[in-house]
């Protein structure tokens, strides 16, 4: 069976500049997919091409087996929540939500009733007759969401919708959006440059960089098994160390910073002798101690800076010219001092090998 939403060979150039370079992507019905990447990586361009506001230079997009080619935005039946919400200032919340129904010929009484129902669903009971400027940012966000969902779109696109909200409200809205999406079962693409947001919300993350898809996969897959250096660096914190494979069989690499390092085999890519690689060790997989730890690989470093976050702390140190980052539980931090030398240790499986 064909996937629900299919992008094949989608290419977009502006003059000499290639914004998107052959994007291939399949999305299943009901899936919550996040496009993650730095600004200018092509994620928003892809979204706008799907929505019909930009034309692809080459390539094809289908939803449920039907091509979107030649369809104007209003003919695509795709709901969009914009970054600034784009609520119509001259219409009340209910009228905003009624608008897509109005465009589909629904009579006013029935449409407004449906709109209020939808506002209930997003938690805005009793706010139907307010104008956008009388609503808070979070409330405007909810209206925009209701408006994009009320006409039962085939696809929901969210373009960095949480960017303008402050931290607490962001987290609430993440949960809300997820709840409503599950309840309605609508296939959703969420665009963001915030990796924690992507981690917490998605069924699948698609990482964009320079107009290419770097990797697509489940959040934890992407976190623990990044396929490129860019992904390893962009998602979460990382220690990335250059190394050369010395024994592919025994999975040993020689690393200028740490010496000989054994790396895991499970779920890791195959390597050959003499291959230049990068080793990824996540800061939370390193442990600090005064003395070397039994059964783990150990090395020494000098502590430069300790950044406290309360429940945990980031310890930044150096070994030779290489910077080492370690996450330690908040309680442990009291015994550490800046300028001190200490050991850090890790297990084989914590060292993940990547193509350089």
């Amino acid at each position: 069976m064909n996937p629900y939403l299919q992008l094949s060979g989608v290419n977009k150039t502006f003059g000499d500049f290639t914004a998107l370079d052959r994007i291939d992507l399949d999305i299943e019905q009901g899936e919550f997919v996040t496009f993650l990447g730095p600004s200018g990586s092509g994620k928003t361009t892809t979204l706008m091409i799907i929505a019909g506001f930009e034309d692809a230079t080459r390539g094809a997009i289908t939803i449920g087996g039907h091509s979107l080619a030649g369809l104007a935005p209003q003919e695509r039946n795709i709901g969009i929540v914009f970054q600034n919400y784009a609520l119509f200032p001259h219409k009340t919340a209910a009228e905003n939500v009624y608008f897509p129904l109005q465009m589909r010929g629904v009579k006013k009484a029935a449409g407004l009733a449906k709109a209020e129902e939808m506002l209930d669903l997003v938690g805005l009971k009793g706010f139907a007759h307010r104008y956008p400027k009388e609503l808070s940012g979070g409330q405007q966000q909810r209206v925009a969401l209701a408006r994009a969902l009320v006409f039962e779109p085939d696809l929901l696109l969210l373009d960095e919708p949480l960017g303008a909200l402050d931290k607490n409200l962001r987290e609430q809205m993440q949960i809300e959006i997820k709840r409503i999406q599950k309840r309605l079962g609508v296939t959703t693409i969420f665009v963001t440059h915030d990796q924690t947001e992507a981690m917490s919300m998605s069924d699948r993350i698609v990482v964009f960089s320079d107009g290419n898809i770097e990797q697509a996969g489940a959040p934890l897959d992407i976190y623990h098994r990044p396929s490129t250096r860019f992904v390893a660096d962009f998602i979460g914190e990382s220690n990335l160390l250059d190394a050369v494979v010395t024994d592919a069989e025994a999975r040993v690499a020689e690393c200028p910073a740490l010496g000989s390092v054994v790396f895991g085999a499970e779920g890791q890519p195959p390597v050959v002798d003499g291959q230049e690689v990068a080793l990824l060790i996540r800061p939370e997989h390193l442990k600090l101690s005064r003395d070397p730890k039994e059964g783990r690989m150990n090395a020494k470093m000098v502590i430069d800076t300790i950044v406290n976050y309360g429940d945990n702390a980031l310890v930044i140190g150096h070994r030779g010219d290489t910077q080492i980052r370690v996450r330690v539980p908040g309680a442990d931090v009291v015994i550490l001092k800046e300028g001190e030398e200490c050991h850090f240790s890790w297990t084989e499986d914590a060292a993940f090998v990547l193509d350089r």
Binding site: D55, A56, A69, G70
Partner: protein, 282 residues
């Protein structure tokens, strides 16, 4: 997809011209053509040649009128600045409420027609008017007539054009970051030196804007000088009207009009080189 794409872009390129075309044609027919007509008349009436320009540029009467126009425009500009700058400053310094009241007064003045304001000055300065009455009341015997002099027309023009100056300076002053002034004070600038080194340079764009606007409008001012000024000290616009209405000297009037236009455009060009013309009337 490729087909719709190309037709779309084609339509996009044509569309703005379709939207613009009616106005472009209109302005060509009813703005550029009459303007060109003035230029043509200036070298064909009453007979072909540059005689009109020779007269305008060398004749002592015309030269005097143009110099007088310049001098008056410069004087009015300076006076507007002297009136406008302190007031804009005070509006910024005083309470919000007072500033709003003054702003209301200025917009009211701005929106009241040139003619009404000119007439009001006639009433004020007339032989039986309040100013003379006031002078007589405080003991002046037989005060001189001030209406229909260079003084009265200049005063009225300053009054009429001051709102342009005030609004320009005020809007610039309002945008000045207070912390900039505070930081200058913290570095030891105060009083006159604060004004000279910080405030004045920051408000310079407003001064330039207002001055150019006032100067240019004043150069071509017709109504007020004709109604209030001395008939012996005409300004350019008045003399042009005079040539056309009284003597039907279209050629000479047109030549003067062209000279006036060129001078105006030169001032605006110098200005737009430095600041961009679109900002002037914004």
């Amino acid at each position: 997809m490729a087909v719709t794409l190309s037709t779309l872009t084609e339509r996009r390129n044509l569309w703005p011209w379709l939207l613009l075309a009616p106005l472009a044609v209109y302005l060509a027919l009813f703005f550029l053509v009459p303007l060109a007509e003035v230029a043509i008349m200036s070298v064909t009436e009453p007979r072909p040649g540059l005689a009109n320009y020779e007269k305008v540029l060398t004749g002592s009467l015309y030269r005097k009128v143009f110099l007088n126009t310049f001098a008056t425009a410069a004087l009015v500009t300076v006076c507007c600045l002297l009136v406008g700058y302190p007031l804009a400053y005070l509006m910024n310094a005083t309470t919000q409420r007072r500033a709003m009241m003054i702003l209301l007064l200025i917009t009211m003045s701005f929106w009241t027609s040139f003619l009404v304001r000119t007439y009001a000055w006639m009433v004020l300065l007339g032989n039986n008017g309040p100013v003379i009455w006031l002078l007589e009341t405080i003991g002046f015997e037989d005060p001189p007539g001030i209406l229909f002099t260079r003084f009265s027309s200049t005063l009225a023009m300053v009054h009429i054009l001051a709102p342009y100056m005030i609004m320009n300076i005020y809007s610039v002053m309002q945008k000045i970051d207070r912390s900039l002034i505070r930081s200058a004070e913290s570095m030891g600038a105060y009083g006159l030196s604060l004004f000279r080194h910080v405030y004045l340079p920051l408000t310079a764009p407003g001064i330039a804007n207002g001055s150019v606007l006032v100067f240019v409008i004043c150069l071509g001012f017709y109504v007020t000088p004709v109604l209030l000024g001395s008939p012996r000290e005409q300004m350019a616009a008045g003399l042009i009207g005079h040539q056309i209405e009284e003597f039907l000297a279209f050629g000479l009037g047109s030549a003067m009009a062209i000279v006036l236009l060129v001078v105006t455009l030169i001032v605006l060009a110098i200005y737009s080189r430095r600041f961009g013309l679109d900002k002037l009337y914004g």
